[in-house]
């Protein structure tokens, strides 16, 4: 639902880096977004097309790489992946511990851009 303000931030950051690297055009943008972030990739592209009109980033293709939800067990330090639908009930597959820390799944950054 908040894709518009997020997309504004993406455009600002992309244009900043494109200018620093004296780009003529931004061709592609790779985002890394964790599975726990409730963002709809299609909306980001849609808003981006609208916001980037008239800038050197107009027409850039956005690709979203989703990073998995990974927990680490606080007892035995074993790391394990949990799918979004399984976040309802899970335990450490090694020791059965239920006290865990989230180590991946909340990422929210621009990985790289392709420019010419």
């Amino acid at each position: 639902m908040h894709e518009l303000s997020v997309t504004e931030s993406i455009l600002t950051i992309v244009l900043k880096h494109a200018q620093t690297n004296r780009a003529e055009k931004v061709l592609a943008i790779n985002l890394k977004i964790g599975e726990l972030s409730e963002l709809v990739s299609e909306c980001i592209q849609h808003y981006f097309d609208y916001l980037s009109k008239g800038t050197i980033a107009e027409g850039a293709v956005i690709d979203v790489e989703r990073s998995p939800i990974i927990f680490q067990c606080n007892d035995c330090e074993h790391s394990f992946e949990v799918s979004l639908k399984d976040t309802r009930d899970f335990a450490c597959p090694r020791c059965g511990g239920v006290k865990v820390s989230l180590i991946s799944g909340r990422e929210f950054y621009i990985k790289d851009i392709t420019i010419s």
Partner: protein, 226 residues
Amino acid sequence: MADIRLIEIKEDILSDNKDLADQIRNTLFAHKVFMLNLMASPGGGKTSLIVNTIRNMKDSFRIGVIEGDIDSVVDAEKVVQEGIPAVQLKTGGFCHLDATMIKMALDEMDLKNLDLVVIENIGNLVCPAEFDTGAHKKAMILSVPEGDDKPLKYPLIFTVCDVLIVNKIDYLGIADFDMDAFKKRVYKLNPSIKIIDVSCKTGEGIEKWTRWLADEINAYLHTAAS
């Protein structure tokens, strides 16, 4: 045609918001003001909890409220009736409050004469969870009629909050709400979260909540003073 180059960025999409949120925390620290970000669904009881909090705490702390709403001032009016300064932010459709909006609201407030600012975020369990507002602690309300399955449907907000207020416990007898299963789900997502059961209607548990908040404020003021 010019060469095609791949530029590594690895920059957080919300870094501007985070930077501004840090600036807000610095300003608040300089004025010795503690800020709480309160989030919940529409109808979860945010305004009722704030009104109860004001009644219990206004003799010990100078309180101000930032009200976020898509388009109305009804909540701010309720707060002002309690004799507390309130700033209403009308987001005009935006689903969350971010650091830029909070800074605008704080600029309108007399920070020198406040100890506690409570942000009443937009009623929504999804978007507000993503944005750092500059608050020191994040609180959320889940009310009994909403159902015990909410940690399964909106996991993020349960992972980012420091405290969870389970409101409307006066409904427990009539609602199909399994408190044990609910808390188990919450602790699984966030083992260190503090859970406090309240009923804003009967007043049950409110004192436990305000004691938690007062302890947090005092600990913060203690660091700010030293």
